[in-house]
Symmetry: D2
Subunit: 362 residues, 4 copies
């Protein structure tokens, strides 16, 4: 249903880039979950632009939880979080030519010109701040249940990060503390240089985010439609710039023979496990107890300083456009915490459906 | 909601590989849509195994529409289609070791051993026959509205098909008539030889399906969650073996600079169009009027004749398994019509949401 | 969503009065629930017309479960039940004048004349047979969980039945065995005589059904929208002829002072209970552990033999109509088992949402 | 889904009686609907307590629309309205004995003691202010489409108002301007005196609200589950104190013969109409173009000054309680605008489903 996602545990989003507040409502949270405002704040900091590789727009993200929390814990009633838009320079934005790669033209067609066009309005990546705040509540609850997840920049500007290694749990813990989440610091330095180089040319870069989830029980997900892949990808494609999602070995599976792709099973510590994990922890749409692995393709930021060919929907005329305002030469390092939030929200919904409304607090 | 997909126009699936009937229910169809049973039959034929590159299982697919159609047209009430399982050899299947790459183990965990394990039960690709029958009704209605879609085998066993060309409409029309849907016949021959070679080795192959949709109005989809990418991928990942979905240039966008990835706009015939289509006809989750383009990674068929290492969930012991019964060395050529059906159902749902319940028949 | 009801446990209906089959699909059932086909058959018998107070139409209701059950228990996959329409005399029905009190005219407007008009098509009370079959599966599972429910004809043709007494559990058990469900047999005889008298005049009668549910845990339901009252009434109003639903003392509460309507609380056997039960076991939309009580107003059967003034939608002309075919002078005694089914399905959905998908089989 | 209602056009609620803000989010509004803040304010005034028959709690209801409106019109993005809780005297409320007739005990059980108990928390009638604000936006849009609705106090404290008369349109227009909505002013005076008399005794009264909707097109609603009666009642039972809903002649239909209850049809001005309207404008769950009529039973306000017998859930002990704080001796006159809002939201959802997302602004 449009701006709401989830069935047993649902998140709703509202707000525009240049409105007074953006917000998220979480409905279906178990009562009694501790809400750690400092963790929410730190997640928002990870999403916030910083340094030479991000837009100059700065938001304090002075969020406020206005319902659903009482004496530090969830009440079971909807939890609403508001975040003020402190630093909005509306004069930077006028209805004008459609920015290529943005939703300006599609919003114009869909909303017949009534959309709030300032800064992308409701389509703005700014809205993901609300998603991150909501996700932080659920990430904390999942962690208390032994479910740990993190995302790294597997590729950026053509540079690959290292792959996940043997000690996945420690790697995930570490990634969650890094502002620029890579497994190999040296590659991270190269990526940042490449981002700065693109920025210097008035251009932007994209990449690939890779996520791992540990501790998910086997048996979660449905055989048709509400598969783990289907529900996760549904949510992940909401993240602006995500244009591809693959699970396990994903597109590389297309070139494997079945004898390789079929992860053989064996018993370890009394539990069936797979020897390889080409299927990314999912068979038949349902978790098999192995690490859940997926990757998101993130396109380069569409706001670039270079002049571009476009049209003005209002006049119906072709024009050249040099996008004014503040730009991110890359958003992949900021998007990573959005992926984590969306993943947490989606998995929690599947888990609550399976184990009941109180499970997340038990 | 589990085995149902769609909001304004929803499809529900039921049935097992070795039960008496499988079926689909379509709810939300406009009244007055002509239902062409011969087209349904021909779509089922495209899904059905045939020749040396498919399983020996043969189903007449003698479907029966038992409700929702009166005097050759939809009534507006739910349309239920039943397909009998004529050729079920249950003695080929006994509860035994979990077949690697299949849902046997995850079904065991999720359903606590109560699942119908014969032939994969409700997880069987057999259920896609019901999906194809339901999709055929909607494909016909979309075509009458000027919306044309088709899928080709863009890659199989490491062999690439040709790319879509200038005359996309004619290519789509032609693809829809081919049992083995490739743009370049010679590549198709090579692919089939590679499939036969894999079969000869007791192995299987996968590939990539690429779909194009023409004639979609701009302005369809939602900015958050119910994006075109999100809703389509949600449904596509239900197709057994699909492990990746990408839109437009997809994962290749990760390596492009923004100046390339941002499809510039111009006016052609009075309408804004993009010069390139790296975004696959979608900006901000919403159609922009360009062809909708996406690709699905299809893993190799998990049922192979080669001996595999696995476990028996019942006994908790490791074992070797040689899967008996009938196998497809590839399902990609059969899956293509399932992708078309799922695409038609998903897009029709978004269109009905936008234009109202009668639109599909107007 | 139209012909589907429920979130965690959903039921879908399809079929028409004169189609080959009607059916129901139950999605979200826990795996491992025993399915007692003889209980389904006996529930269908209670719904089936019988004797001088019912239509002459007779259906064997030779239902068939075609999926979701394996070796006598639910598998966790969708359970589909088909019921053939054996005794359809289509020649009795021609598109003609709209029968007053029926959906003939509204179906004509909504479906633009494409509806299957024979015998009311998809609007026919016949479809409730599928609902009863589906409900029977869930009623059995609820009973195994200690949740007992039954309905009596609290009023018919102006004659009141006795009220529920002290030994509610025994009364409910007994009601479930009666073809004509009244607490006071003498009143039942009077009701049946009144029905026969109406039939003799070519007319029909209505009444009030009262339902009690024992053993529901406290804490089920939601404060806004998905209240127990809201979800139950949503489903109950689908039963053809139900035009009013009230909980506890219902409309009589409108005339009570707060000091009477507020059921005082006390402790009995260590548990909070209410001294009275004017709120019908629900406060703030949530069960309080007392018996759930509600009443449905059932209008008189619209099919009557008397001549009626009406219009022919096809010609747009006024006309007189004498409805041919078979009529029920009352359906309240048959509707009671439909109320039970709808109640079981709705409560089970709320319970599964709260306690998880496996709860119903635990 | 819990605190959200609607499919094509959905409303979500959040907030607690003593939190900083309450709010509503409307998702699915067509772009371009004029938003009249003064009308929202006037609707909130009608809901607000006033004079000797209401609680002394006064709220300025200084609502703020924080998203979804741009330059005075809806944008098509979610519209979020926040209302501050200005006058909260939390010291009046301590967790203590469960107030009879309230949700205190059920909230305790459902939320395991984590609920915000102050002033009823999320169960408080205060939340209906957000519902009224959201409803006002939709009421305005419906009126622009020629759909007019209003509610009167059909009965209060045992005193009946006059019935709707011939000039229904003028009556509805007038009712919408009245703080105490009755058709017969003299009866209104008597009702208010009865309310004051109850207040003087520390008690409270209830009543019946009757709603009429004019201008609804025929053909809206679904045959099963999403009937007009089912969807409306689902929403109406969320209104605190509503314990019964009946359509048309409702429970009185139980005593009518079919020959009376079946509203005969005739042609007037070229359109089929019914001579009587016992079915309240709905046949088979679908509007027939006649006025939609329904009645809600409103129980007496549970907060009364009289001493009551109850239990303390925390200690598990019986106790006597005299509820401190501010009380309404009746809420029926304030609930009427909540009924209008809920009705508008529910009908708009059905209309948007049928006619498409843009319809409400066309």
């Amino acid at each position: 249903m449009k701006n709401t996602f989830g069935t047993s545990l649902a998140v709703s989003l509202f707000g525009e880039s240049h409105g007074p507040w953006i917000g998220a409502v979480l409905d279906g949270l178990a009562p009694g979950i501790p809400v750690d405002e400092s963790f929410i704040a730190s997640q928002l900091t990870l999403r916030r632009p910083a340094g030479s590789i991000s837009t100059a727009r700065r938001e304090a993200d002075a969020f406020r939880i206005v319902s659903g929390v009482f004496e530090g814990r969830t009440t079971g009633a909807p939890l609403a979080i508001l975040i003020p838009n402190a630093d909005t320079r509306s004069k930077d934005y006028q209805r004008g030519p459609a920015r290529p790669g943005h939703a300006d033209y599609t919003a114009w067609v869909k909303y017949h010109g009534f959309e709030d066009y300032r800064g992308g309005g409701h389509f703005s990546g700014r809205i993901t701040a609300a998603l991150v705040a909501a996700g932080a509540v659920v990430l904390g609850a999942l962690k208390a249940k032994g479910i740990l997840l993190a995302t790294h920049i597997a590729r950026c500007a053509g540079i690959d990060d290292a792959s996940f290694g043997e000690n996945l749990s420690a790697e995930l813990e570490k990634l969650n503390t890094l502002p620029f989440a890579v497994l190999d610091e040296v590659r991270g330095v190269l990526m940042r240089k490449a981002i700065e180089a693109a920025a210097a040319q008035g251009d932007s870069v994209g990449g690939i985010l890779e996520t791992a989830v540990l501790g998910l029980p086997a048996g979660v997900g449905e055989p048709w439609f509400d598969t783990v892949e289907g529900t996760l990808s549904h949510a992940l494609f909401s993240i602006p710039a995500v244009k591809g999602v693959e699970f396990g070995s994903g597109f590389a599976l297309a070139d494997m023979p079945g004898s390789t792709a079929n992860d053989p099973l064996r018993i370890r510590d009394g539990q069936p496990v797979t020897v390889t994990n080409h299927n990314g922890g999912i068979n038949g749409g349902i978790t098999n107890g192995m690490p859940l692995l997926f990757r998101c393709a993130v396109k380069p930021t569409p706001s670039i300083a270079l002049e571009q060919q476009t049209v003005n929907p209002l006049t119906g005329e072709e024009t050249l456009l040099r996008v004014a305002g503040r730009h991110d030469p890359a958003i992949i390092h900021r998007a990573r915490v959005v992926v984590d939030s969306v993943t947490a929200l989606t998995l929690a919904d599947l888990l609550v459906l399976r184990y009941g409304t109180d499970w997340l607090a038990e």
